[in-house]
């Protein structure tokens, strides 16, 4: 069974490498701007070149021992995505809507993270609803489930 950080890093890697216009998504994510932890300094850096930025954080882990020695490992991740409108005419919430569609598609199409987990679910999300204009922020909570069987 993959370790927690391996799952996190796979999530980071796949978000950065998969969400591409060439692959049918609406945005091109730069792998260099998908971080494997929350970095406050980068969050508050409003330089245009820093956007869009994505932070993937391990939020919580839980392990349950099931019958017959099976272990169910549940992980929660917070994915924070920050966009900024490039000019006055662009509605930042439309940018955020577009990113949200990409994430939803990503979660649907990659629900095992390439075999690293058994399930991947977007549990809930919040957005800044326009408060942070010209920035837009969306935080998603996703959970993954892994099963470890006897002898694994």
């Amino acid at each position: 069974m993959k370790t927690t950080t391996e799952v996190r890093n796979q999530l980071v890697s796949m978000i950065g490498s998969t969400i591409k216009i060439a692959q049918g998504y609406e945005n091109d994510f730069d792998p260099a701007k998908v971080y494997n932890r929350y970095i406050k300094e980068i969050t508050d850096d409003t330089s245009d070149v820093k956007y869009p930025k994505t932070f993937v954080c391990i939020a919580r882990g839980e392990q349950r021992r099931m019958i017959a020695g099976e272990i169910n490992n549940l992980l929660s991740f917070l994915i924070m995505h920050v966009v900024k409108r490039p000019d006055e005419k662009t509605d930042v919430q439309i940018l955020l809507d577009s990113a949200m569609r990409d994430f939803e598609r990503f979660f649907e199409m990659n629900d095992t993270l390439g075999g690293f987990v058994q399930t991947l679910d977007l549990v809930e999300f919040v957005t800044d609803s326009g408060f942070l204009d010209p920035e837009g922020v969306m935080i998603m909570r996703v959970t993954t489930e892994r099963f470890k069987y006897g002898g694994e």
Partner: protein, 185 residues
């Protein structure tokens, strides 16, 4: 402290404002579920009878609107957005504005807000009331935006503050305390 901002223009949207005044009685806020508030506003907006101008429907008379230069009318479309944070709720009443006139042809604006541009007609109208364990208890009118002790249009300082103080508490109650403490440092 719960802050509710109903975004409309106090001068040009007089009739709307008057109606909202009626709606914003203490009893109204005390009893109405928040989810129904937007519906209520929308119902009111839709109850206004526009003047039929053929291709467009004008709200000039029915809303008491007056614009300088050119004929302007509202498309028959309204949108109300609710913005919720840990301790404030903002209702923005948006419309699609269609400007018809002279050489300018037809211009459309959308998502007008906060009177922050020359083409904007909407200013803030603010209602403030407190929440005690989810029940609305008081209402005051005419306050500006308040959030976490900060006041005014620039209530949001750093993005990380907003994430830590407002957004994270809305995500998964059982994980937010730890995360919020960690990120607030």
């Amino acid at each position: 402290m719960i802050t509710v901002n109903i975004v409309t223009d106090e001068d040009r949207f007089r009739k709307v404002a008057d109606a909202l005044e009626f709606l914003s009685s203490e009893e109204f806020f005390r009893t109405i579920p928040l989810a129904q508030f937007e519906t209520k506003i929308l119902m009111f907006m839709r109850s206004i009878s526009p003047e039929d101008r053929g291709l467009t429907k004008a709200y000039r008379s029915s809303l008491g609107l007056y614009f300088k230069g050119g004929m302007q009318s509202f498309k028959d479309g309204w949108r109300v957005a609710r913005e919720t944070s840990g301790d404030s709720i903002t209702f923005r009443i948006w419309n699609l504005l269609e400007t018809v006139g002279g050489d300018q042809g037809v211009r459309k604006f959308s998502a007008l807000e906060y009177g922050n541009s020359a083409s904007s007609f909407i200013a803030k109208r603010t209602y403030v009331f407190q929440s005690v364990e989810g029940a609305w208890v008081t209402i005051k009118q005419g306050r500006t935006v308040q959030h976490a002790g900060r006041t005014g249009a620039n209530v949001i300082g750093r993005t990380s503050d907003y994430i830590a103080q407002v957004m994270l508490p809305e995500i998964g109650q059982h994980i937010n305390e730890l995360i919020t403490r960690r990120l607030a440092k």
